[in-house]
Symmetry: C2
Subunit: 342 residues, 2 copies
């Protein structure tokens, strides 16, 4: 079984964006805000948006199931206040729940959280619980920088974030550390901000000791861990200078990197540096990079080709990257699949 | 000949830091500010600080010459105003000039610039000209984020930066894009901010078209280009989506990556992805990572070992990474060496 651990609903029907634009236009003008029930998208439209896109490519590329959360760049936690983010999160999570309900064998739900800059992280907990307990989310996307590129939140190891980790630990749900759109002109969203966030979050974990307090918490650092594997010697050396030389590799008991790295040498580096147990197959398909690589004739984001081709994984390790590691990182997904005899 | 393209005076005598601390303490209290002439460091003290540190390691590791600029983390452009940065830059540049004068066969000078957050970049030009024309600097370090982690400057492709590029082009001097200390708690200085800045600057170049306006300008992105080579497919794919599919590789006519990547798999990735003509040997020794890798028994920052060992370079390419590429990137260094018959 091949599980793609990182997908987003980037192809939602256009009514979603239209509703969001109306919501944004009405910020500061609540009388004109659209109501959640104004957004009407039929099951058929959802089916079509999936069947012609992600499902088609999953079949072409040979993956069985995708963990599917709201479009990352659309989370845009920096827009509006907590109420705006809460309403928007509920709508986006409901849509992903409908995808997973319509295609129960092919999609499992991931959730976004109603974060908002400067607002106590604990405010997201009701929606976190709803997404997991009522909608069936198996992972949540946690934005370490809800400001969208101004980075004015404390490190993810700060106790301000602990209420979220307590609930995640209780529920057996991991978090993918994933920023959203950059509203800082210095940072291109998918070419700089995403990768920087991955690197930044990993280094925060190197500095801190989060998993001493939350031994069962699991975090996924997407996009191949940002710059971390490429600079693994730097991170090991920095930890050594902090008098905790084994800390970087100890983190990999709780931290996973995904395979959203869009060329063969990158996947070869990832699989040569990071123990295979801490690698999750993922493609984030129809995401940041949607074209075909003229050098290979294949889509940049068809990461299964790179994972299949890398000489650094044994067949057993490759199988684990595709399935067992994902099931270990996402225990609720494992439980659901097991209950269905998969 | 083996030229280390990226070194900093991290081992300056303690009087330098004491002077800086007095300068910082007197911000807003100019009557108590130390005068530049209060800093007295003898030639012998400078010799000792070099001979027992960088020069010793250069001899042990087998490099001939280091391009040597003020300590990057000490630039701290976010501290004080323009006048504070100007005085500090002159002091630090003068010291590097003295090192290069005391060891003319082993060190060539690089310069810092008196940047200051929110101040017109053109204000650095007098010190830039002094450093190059009077002190002999062959490269300057350009900080794309003088705020120290708040990233409130425009992208390096913005016309606000053009006055600097005009002078660099006129003088035949490249810039190394190098941030300084992070004063943002989210970003560890050497584990996140440095790498993020490299990635961010490279993506800004992908978005823009800077070298159409400055065809002779050369930029060095240090630390192996941040995350860029590891995610080379992502950058190529993003450029493709911007309808300029060849832009990323075209940038390498003007952009160089250095080899400050502190483990073998990282150097192997760099040399397998980036054409060797765009790679400069560098170690940033006695810098961010100063310890010995327990796996290899050698210093993490002894990057010559990785460059020597990588199977991805022919002997000719390796020789060019060590010398010819650096001389091409730093034309004034080349001219000086040529004039000396080297």
């Amino acid at each position: 079984m091949i599980i793609d651990a990182h997908g987003h609903y980037t192809t939602a029907p256009p009514q979603l964006e239209e509703w969001r634009n109306r919501q944004i236009a009405a910020i500061g003008d609540p009388a004109n805000a659209p109501r959640p029930e104004d957004l009407v998208i039929s099951d058929d439209k959802i089916r079509e948006s999936i069947e012609t896109n992600q499902l088609r490519l999953m079949d072409e590329r040979g993956s069985d199931l995708t963990v599917f959360s709201p479009r990352a760049s659309f989370m845009a936690h920096h827009i509006g206040d907590y109420a705006v983010s809460e309403t928007w999160s509920r709508i986006c999570n409901d849509l992903c729940h409908r995808v997973a309900t319509l295609f129960p064998d092919r999609f499992a739900m991931g959730a976004m959280l109603p974060q908002s800059p400067g607002v106590d992280p604990a405010t997201v907990i009701p929606e976190l619980r709803r997404a997991v307990e009522e909608l069936g989310a198996v992972v949540v996307n946690l934005n370490p920088d809800p400001s969208g590129g101004h980075w004015d939140s404390p490190p993810i190891t700060d106790t301000q974030w602990y209420p979220i980790y307590e609930v995640l630990s209780e529920l057996g749900v991991p978090a993918m550390v994933h920023v959203s759109t950059s509203c800082n002109a210095a940072f291109h969203t998918t070419g700089a901000h995403y990768l920087n966030a991955d690197t930044t979050a990993f280094m925060q974990l190197v500095q801190g000791d989060l998993f001493a307090d939350f031994p069962d918490l699991r975090l996924i650092i997407p996009h191949g861990g940002g710059a971390a594997p490429y600079h693994w010697g730097r991170f090991r050396g920095l930890a050594d200078m902090m008098k905790k030389p084994d800390h970087v590799e100890a983190l990999l008991r709780n931290v996973f990197f995904d395979t959203c790295v869009y060329h063969q040498p990158g996947i070869d580096l990832l699989t040569s540096v990071i123990p295979s147990e801490s690698i999750l197959f993922a493609s984030e398909m129809i995401g940041a990079v949607r074209g075909i690589d003229s050098r290979t004739g294949h889509f940049f984001d068809d990461t299964k080709r790179y994972v299949d081709a890398t000489p650094n994984l044994t067949d057993e390790q490759r199988t684990a990257v595709y399935e067992a590691n994902v099931r270990r990182a996402y225990p609720r997904l494992d439980a659901t699949l097991t209950a269905r005899g998969r």
